[in-house]
């Protein structure tokens, strides 16, 4: 029986509650004011309304930007999952000169401020004659998010029992067949989880996008543009919807992740 694990210190409990409040209060305020008839300022919020959400339904510029974001995110998920899977496999089971450098390079966008990745890709896009636009954004997201895919899938690979693959080869399946019949099915949950995460991150991404965007806006860029024109409860409504979708996706991701951890035991 340890003193440190059983007594619940009052001060620490209160402090933790305050930290939770700090994390959640701004988000809560944002949601509440999306239902406030009298706009974003003013206290307390008085008249409940769905007007701001109703206005969104006819906002074609907004929905165009949502479509653009979906297009970019779908592409980014495909590219970064495919390459992230291969990169994770390579880091796990291949040896080649420069492997340590390769690992660092792949994971760098995870920690590097988005502006660096965004700008260097901008210079590349211009030099390659691609120019700014959704295609450049797609390449940017697809590349930067390989880091997320690689870490997620690599973690899944560490839980994969190598003997499963050996058993498959042992039973006469070719390496190619073993990959499809054993390796991939075992990584299924990791792949779905990584995909969800990448999708969410790509939908929300702004720092890299900022430098690569052309005339077609992604959703965050559209919001960013509107913010410069002033605060309206409409933005609260959009943000609330984004929040809702993010929370749903993240919760599914979290469930999948804990399931992979449990099934590995």
């Amino acid at each position: 029986m340890s003193a440190t694990t059983n007594r619940r210190p009052l001060f620490l409990t209160i402090y933790s509650c305050l930290v939770f409040a700090f994390i959640y209060l701004p988000i809560l305020v944002l949601v509440i004011y999306s239902f406030n008839r009298d706009g974003v300022g003013g206290f307390p919020p008085r008249h409940f309304t769905f007007d701001w959400y109703r206005q969104l339904t006819t906002d074609s510029a907004l929905w165009n930007s949502v479509l653009n974001s979906l297009y970019v995110a779908a592409g980014a998920v495909f590219v970064s999952l495919t390459l992230g899977l291969l990169a994770a496999l390579a880091l796990d089971r291949a040896d080649f000169p420069g492997k340590a450098l390769f690992r660092r390079l792949v994971l760098l966008p995870l920690i590097l401020p988005g502006i660096i990745t965004g700008l260097s890709l901008l210079m590349f896009a211009v030099a390659a004659g691609l120019g700014r636009g959704l295609t450049a954004v797609f390449f940017g997201h697809g590349t930067a998010l390989i880091s997320v895919a690689t870490t997620e899938i690599f973690a899944g690979l560490q839980k994969l029992d190598r003997r499963q693959e050996e058993a498959s080869l042992d039973l006469g399946a070719t390496p190619w067949r073993t990959f499809w019949l054993v390796t991939l099915p075992n990584l299924r949950l990791s792949l779905i989880a990584a995909g969800l995460l990448i999708f969410t991150l790509s939908m929300d991404e702004i720092a890299v996008t900022f430098f690569l965007i052309g005339s077609d806006n992604t959703l965050p860029q559209e919001i960013w543009g509107r913010l410069r024109r002033g605060i309206t409860p409409e933005i609260n409504a959009i943000s609330t919807l984004i929040l809702l979708v993010s929370i749903i996706l993240i919760t599914i991701w979290y469930r999948l992740r804990t399931r992979t951890q449990k099934s590995s035991l």
Binding site: S2, T4, V19, I111, P113
Partner: protein, 281 residues
């Protein structure tokens, strides 16, 4: 057990992609920083001109040191909020641990923009906080110092990075074998000295990882100053962003970016080294 062909098949595509879309662009940025512009055209004349420019203009130093101060403040505040929270969840949360953990994780991935915007609506002159203060008769006029100040930037970024800092700390606390704590108290250590002499050292890798994350990402942030900071809190990345925008001086912008990149990578190596020192296996 894997054949040569298999190893080539898994290594070559990501190697090719990463070289083309990461290594080449970074190299291109590096190259730009040695070039110059003349009448809005980039000339490929190799020189240290941009770096000399950086060192000679005191404005850059001012902005740089402000950025460092903001980054240090955000890191410290995120640690002050994140560590106790992680400690509480790991050791005292009881059966609700899983749920609480999930509650911290969710905002981690929730849109940066959405959270930044929330602060803008709270801190503004017509904002929620001023409204509340006046409603409660604490103030009689809107306090305008809340928004558009380094304070607002620090507040917003602390809000964003606290869950980031929490995550690795929580992971390292969870990895501490519980019998160690029992052994410590069994050997007569008070909870305080158990914390200082067992828990804190063993959670150091997580703490360092979290701190690095908050520091480096704040260092390269340009959106928070634009959103809630105003001109008094311009940071180094804002300078880069304007050089790539209206000012159109890519080589100088690239030189500052290379500078940020080097600080980042240097810091990563440094903390990685420290983390190794604090890892006991």
């Amino acid at each position: 057990m894997y054949s040569r062909l298999y190893k080539l098949a898994i290594s070559l595509p990501p190697l090719f992609w990463v070289t083309l879309f990461l290594l080449v662009p970074y190299a291109l940025m590096f190259a730009h920083s040695f070039w110059v512009t003349q009448d809005g055209v980039i000339l490929h004349n190799w020189s240290f001109h941009q770096y000399k420019e950086l060192l000679s203009q005191p404005l850059y130093a001012t902005v740089f040191f402000r950025t460092m101060r903001v980054a240090a403040s955000v890191t410290l505040l995120s640690l002050l909020l994140g560590y106790p929270l992680a400690y509480f969840l790991s050791f005292h949360a009881g059966p609700r641990k899983e749920l609480l953990y999930q509650l911290v994780i969710v905002p981690l991935w929730v849109s940066y923009l959405v959270r930044g915007y929330a602060w803008k609506t709270i801190l503004g002159t017509d904002g929620v906080l001023n409204g509340a203060l006046q409603y409660l008769h604490i103030t009689h006029e809107p306090v305008s110092a809340l928004l558009y100040s380094p304070f607002a930037v620090i507040l917003m970024l602390t809000h964003i990075y606290t869950p980031f800092v929490f995550l690795p700390i929580y992971a390292s606390l969870e990895h501490i074998p519980r019998p160690l704590l029992e052994a410590s108290s069994d050997l007569g250590a008070s909870p305080r000295s158990t914390f200082l002499r067992v828990i804190l050292p063993l959670s150091m890798p997580g703490l360092l990882a979290g701190a690095t994350f908050a520091f480096v990402l704040t260092l390269g942030d340009f959106l928070a100053p634009l959103l809630v900071g105003g001109s008094s809190s311009t940071m180094i990345a804002n300078v880069v962003q304007s050089l790539f925008g209206a000012a159109y001086d890519w080589p100088l912008g690239a030189a500052i970016s290379v500078f940020i990149l080097f600080i980042t990578v240097g810091l990563l190596f440094f903390t990685e080294h420290l983390e190794k020192r604090w890892t006991f296996q």
